[in-house]
Symmetry: C2
Subunit: 321 residues, 2 copies
């Protein structure tokens, strides 16, 4: 196990995170920081399905940080079974969104607690504690923000676009319903204004679909800038391509060049540094942030920890000026 990176004095670190790609870095950061890590998670992919509240990004972070995630399939829980879905199909129910038997427990338990009046923040904290997850996992808001994807076949709810239509329709624009009136999670505000804070990391999640709806919550970007700590983004682009998911396809459809320079430009005014893959050094000439190049492909736990260490060290150098 690598020794933990320490700021001097030890600081908390906020990781702003979407789903799978972001959670991988969050896992690396967890191994270095433990309870000094605060993961602020996207909720705009959340939706109601079969009467249940499903929170794909929060759940991916929970499963990844607790060691319950299925590393091979890339989403959901390890050792999952699908008998519920089989029975749903038998009963003629909706089957486009796959819910594993074990995964379902989280949705049912969350929905029950929400109906009883508990906040999403409190529910996630309780589940994280039960699963002995040391970092704090905070939904960016307890209010409803919902990603809508305007596509060639009409405006789609995010999961319809992402799962049912497998990202196939051409994206014309993306909006976040409810974002302008969503209230920033007070625990996120408190963490951002704490004197304990050492750095803010934008994880290598999809900037347009996963990070933007977090940043769209009023007050968050301002509080990040006011925090006075380095804000470092880890680019999801490697060798001019996105490793996973529709990032490159969406960038192309939005007429954005699939480069880390585009990522830097997207985050202009917010980030102090951009961590890019070693193969992408050529395309980041003249961008506004400090750049650090390192291998960013996370294939296993050691590579996640190495990238987390590189990211924290880069932030520490930026903090030292």
């Amino acid at each position: 196990m690598p020794s933990p990176v320490t700021f001097d004095p030890p600081r908390t670190v906020i990781a702003i995170c979407g789903g799978v790609g972001g959670a991988k870095l969050a896992l690396g950061l967890k191994h270095l920081l433990g309870e000094r890590l605060i993961v602020v998670v996207n909720v705009a992919d959340d939706f109601e399905h079969m009467g249940l509240r499903i929170c794909p990004d929060l759940d991916t972070v929970i499963y990844t940080l607790s060691g319950l995630s299925d590393e091979v399939r890339g989403w959901g829980r390890a050792g999952e079974t699908w008998n519920f879905m089989e029975a749903i199909r038998q009963l003629g129910g909706e089957s486009w969104f796959a819910l594993g038997d074990r995964d379902l427990a989280l949705h049912v338990e969350r929905t029950r607690r929400l109906a009883a009046g508990e906040t999403l923040t409190s529910i996630i904290a309780g589940i994280a504690a039960t699963l002995e997850i040391a970092p704090r996992i905070l939904p960016v808001t307890d209010d409803d923000v919902r990603t809508k994807v305007v596509t060639s076949i009409g405006t789609l709810d995010f999961q319809r676009y992402f799962v049912e239509h497998r990202c196939e329709p051409t994206v014309r624009s993306i909006s976040f319903d409810g974002a302008t009136v969503a209230r920033l999670n007070p625990l996120v505000s408190a963490a951002l204004s704490s004197t304990e804070l050492g750095a803010i990391i934008l994880c290598p999640s999809n900037p347009y679909l996963s990070i933007d709806p977090i940043l769209a919550v009023p007050g968050l970007s301002d509080a990040m800038r006011r925090s006075g700590v380095p804000v470092v983004a880890v680019s999801p682009i490697i060798g001019g391509r996105a490793i996973k998911g529709p990032t490159a396809k969406i960038m192309s459809e939005l007429n954005i060049e699939t480069t880390s320079a585009s990522i830097a430009k997207h985050y202009t005014g917010l980030i102090d540094g951009l961590l890019i893959d070693s193969s992408d050094t050529a395309d980041v000439e003249g961008i506004a942030a400090h750049v650090h190049a390192t291998p960013t492909l996370m294939t296993d736990l050691p590579s996640r920890i190495v990238l987390a260490r590189e990211t924290l060290a880069f932030a520490a150098r930026l903090a030292a000026g």
Copy 2:
């Protein structure tokens, strides 16, 4: 396969039914009557659990008549798995009521449709059609009726008494919340007043816990009497004992002798005939209904069909006067 019993002309038969014991006879009746069987089912065991509407008696009837039931365990679905429950326990959720992964699909689908404004009657009809169940399955009412058991440890919701406390507390009385204002299912009224009706069977379910809350719905008993067809009860008592469940224990706690004569007395004024087990002929001297004795233990499908045939033949004799 035995040839079907026919009234002349062919008639519909209403079976009034609770859970496991009643559903066994309903399955026998189904084999003889097919779509001419109408099963009117108790809803007073229904409850909300984890935000889901659970209908134990309706589900037992559905699983039994569709061939999905677990004959060995005696409840729930065959080939069931329990990974949802394992995950619920892992998350610190409520685990006193076991929900199988496959069974859960029915609860989630029903809850979703109820929330969308569909009636329980319509939902059950849709599911029965999907599962190709020929008989009609009708909840006695679409309104909420809830069995409360006044016990030595306080008043308990039925499932708390039945499952969580395993029927251990002493029963002092039983009441049916909501029964006085529940509206009889109009499809049940229509079936009872139809000129097609040939007989009404009270299945050998627990009279106090399963049949009484059906009969408690205003208008049902009157409509049964007005129907002019034979009403035949099948006693759940065999050799002075109840085969399954808490019937005998409850009768004893309510100071009722555990005999078929007590069952006849309980149904006085409602039934024309009582079908009892051959071993119980001694104790039915002087009861108000006609009595037919036959082996009533249903150990397998053939014995269910034989008992169903005996019951229908008895009703046909009573109809012939």
